[in-house]
């Protein structure tokens, strides 16, 4: 792998938000693919890396958690647990908290004796004790609590009758979909609106792959779209608030600062005790102006936007401004 960087670019001086950004493009075009790979190893980018662990905690930690809290207070439908998924929620808590403690031993710790657990998180001056299986032992229940500890959105897929079902989750930062509406749907039903994937058979292949994962196995993939403003909640629920920007951004002089590449790092983890598939979605936003600081990124992303077929641009909601964005990036 060769790294081509402008001679005058000083990687060391780039801010963390760029050096840790999971830039998703390896070439000048993009198509849907089952781009899964084993989790827990650092992926190098031209200026840094990402993905050494499962749960990434960054400079936006407290801000994003406060944002989530506001969203959930306003719209409780962003969190739902169908009754049969309660054990899977506990399985998630009992899997992720120890993982976070291992990945961040200086700021977090987890201890378990039988079902009694103690969790400490110095970033929030938090020290709590709870009992696995007892929903009342954590404030607002285990899933809501986990949502105050990680920036990722949480989706739980049950596997029954050779099909995956979206039966629980906490999704405050949806990228143009409605978690509250999709709860209870099968994996195929959820992806029904995505163009091309039916013809290309990607969803059923992905489903087969995920159902064959053994408990404890951890994989990841990336997905991307674009977001106007540093706004994580672009759910269908709040579409009337953020949708209008799509019609005006192309002519906005502040486009390079307002328009963001949004990358989701999705972790796919088969939970050990329930066998439920945990789908973590961590969303990263980087404005065009930051992307342009890395010449290879500016060029690749500019080309991807220019080449992307109409139906995919339409589905991603970027069709009204992708040309403006591409032109700006490629004008360098």
């Amino acid at each position: 792998m060769s790294i081509i960087i402008d001679k005058d670019m000083d990687i060391e001086s780039l801010p963390d938000r760029i050096r840790r950004f999971p830039f998703p493009f390896s070439g000048d075009t993009y198509r849907y693919s089952a781009n899964v790979q084993p989790a827990n190893n650092a992926a190098a980018t031209d200026v840094g890396s990402w993905g050494a662990g499962v749960i990434d905690i960054d400079e936006f930690y407290l801000d994003e958690l406060a944002d989530r809290d506001r969203i959930l207070r306003r719209d409780p439908s962003r969190m739902q647990v169908l009754p049969h998924m309660r054990p899977a929620v506990w399985d998630t808590v009992a899997t992720l908290l120890p993982t976070m403690a291992e990945e961040n031993p200086d700021i977090m710790s987890f201890h378990r004796e039988g079902n009694n657990c103690r969790w400490q998180n110095k970033l929030q001056n938090l020290d709590v004790e709870f009992t696995v299986g007892d929903d009342d032992s954590l404030p607002d229940g285990p899933l809501r609590f986990l949502g105050t500890q990680i920036q990722d959105d949480i989706v739980l897929l049950d596997i029954r009758d050779n099909t995956m079902w979206l039966d629980a989750g906490l999704v405050s930062f949806a990228a143009d979909w409605s978690f509250g509406f999709d709860v209870g749907m099968s994996f195929m039903e959820i992806h029904h609106p995505v163009p091309r994937v039916k013809e290309e058979n990607i969803i059923s292949r992905a489903e087969q792959f995920l159902m064959r994962l053994q408990p404890g196995e951890q994989f990841r993939r990336t997905n991307w779209t674009m977001t106007i403003g540093r706004r994580l909640d672009t759910s269908t629920e709040t579409y009337p608030e953020w949708g209008p920007d799509r019609g005006t951004i192309a002519n906005d002089p502040d486009m390079p600062d307002k328009l963001h590449l949004r990358v989701e790092v999705q972790h796919l983890i088969r939970l050990p005790h329930t066998g439920v598939l945990l789908f973590l979605i961590r969303s990263y936003l980087l404005p065009l102006r930051d992307i342009a600081q890395v010449p290879t990124w500016r060029e690749k992303f500019g080309n991807v936007l220019a080449e992307l077929p109409e139906d995919m641009a339409e589905y991603k909601g970027i069709i009204r401004y992708r040309k403006a964005a591409s032109d700006w990036l490629l004008a360098g």
Binding site: G114, G133, R205, T274
Partner: protein, 326 residues
């Protein structure tokens, strides 16, 4: 440490698994022994899905799968029960020779007989050593506050875990020692289950087939029927074969249990790859001669039939030798 020392290297089926110590061996019946395994340094073991099995390596070569009997919630030890099979491949005989202090290689627990999360009642049916995974189901159900009932068929004096089953299930346990009484009980129970019930059966294959057939005749749809099928969820290790790399002038042997991709990498050939599970499509290789045994999810049926490409992370060969454009 006794004579039954750890094999020199782990078998591919237990690679990436655990190295455990035998902490207890206790006879269940004349021919069934329970073996308890724990981490030698006392660490917790991975939780597992009820009904899971462990692949255990015995001797230097062989591996066998055994059901775990616990609930699977945050275990500090794993317990399996092994029936001695005199005419078998030797695995059960080797397992019966284990004593406390011996070390064994085991896989991580593998799930192929999971409970249905939506079930409000589990009807468990076991014959003989088939008790082991359903005992795990009964324990997990009790943990989660769902109910279960068990029909357990065994020859008098040859029943493993009978006392545990009685204690765990009380009146929800029905013990049968002959075929006729079992048929009566089975019919009674199959016609008396609420619509939240799922059925789980484990035992000899003809026994499982008979139970499942009977359930279907009484109107049970397949979504409610679960049977233990060891290893159904995993790929078997396959036969060894040769690959001839035409451009490199290399000839390599791909042993059983080792993937073509691993073999190529060990020989210093780098092949782009990502998932190593036959789904992402990165490790595609052009095939010049020979018929690949396609085991991937990526190629279409038509592409597979053409036999001009293969996914080297999971696919193998139908022929003794494959010629690759590499």
């Amino acid at each position: 440490m006794t004579v039954a020392a750890l094999p020199i290297s782990p078998h591919p089926a237990v690679d990436g698994g655990l190295q455990l110590e035998v902490t207890n061996v206790s006879p269940q019946t004349d021919s069934i022994v329970s073996i308890t395994l724990a981490d030698p340094s006392g660490r917790k073991l991975p939780s597992y899905v009820p009904g899971s099995h462990l692949v255990v390596q015995y001797g230097g070569e062989g591996v066998n799968a055994y059901s775990l009997t616990g609930s699977g919630n945050d275990p500090s030890e794993y317990t399996i029960s092994v029936l001695r099979v005199e005419e078998g491949a030797g695995g059960s005989m080797a397992m019966h020779r284990l004593t406390a202090g011996d070390h064994v290689y085991v896989s991580r627990p593998r799930s192929a007989f999971a409970p249905a999360s939506t079930a409000t009642h589990h009807l468990l049916v076991a014959a003989g050593i088939g008790i082991t995974p359903v005992l795990s189901h009964a324990r997990a159900a009790a943990d989660h506050g769902t109910t279960s009932s068990l029909i357990y068929v065994y020859r008098p004096g040859a029943g493993a875990h009978v006392d545990e089953a009685r204690e765990l299930l009380g009146p929800a346990l029905t013990e049968c020692s002959n075929r006729d009484s079992f048929q009566t009980v089975l019919t009674e129970q199959l016609t008396a289950q609420g619509v939240g019930t799922h059925l789980y059966v484990c035992g000899p294959i003809p026994f499982m087939d008979a139970v499942l057939d009977h359930a279907r005749e009484l109107g049970w749809p397949s979504a409610r029927l679960h049977s233990e099928a060891f290893g159904a969820a995993e790929l078997d290790e396959g036969e060894p074969f040769m690959v001839n790399l035409v451009r490199s002038g290399l000839r390599l042997e791909v042993p059983a249990g080792v993937s073509l991709l691993d073999t190529l990498e060990k020989a210093g050939k780098s092949v782009p790859n990502m998932c190593r599970k036959g789904i992402c499509g990165e490790c595609v290789l052009p095939v010049l001669r020979g018929v690949p045994q396609h085991r991937d999810l990526y190629l279409t049926d038509q592409e597979k039939a053409e036999n001009t490409t293969m996914m080297c992370c999971v696919s193998r060969s139908e022929d003794p030798e494959l010629e690759l454009d590499l």
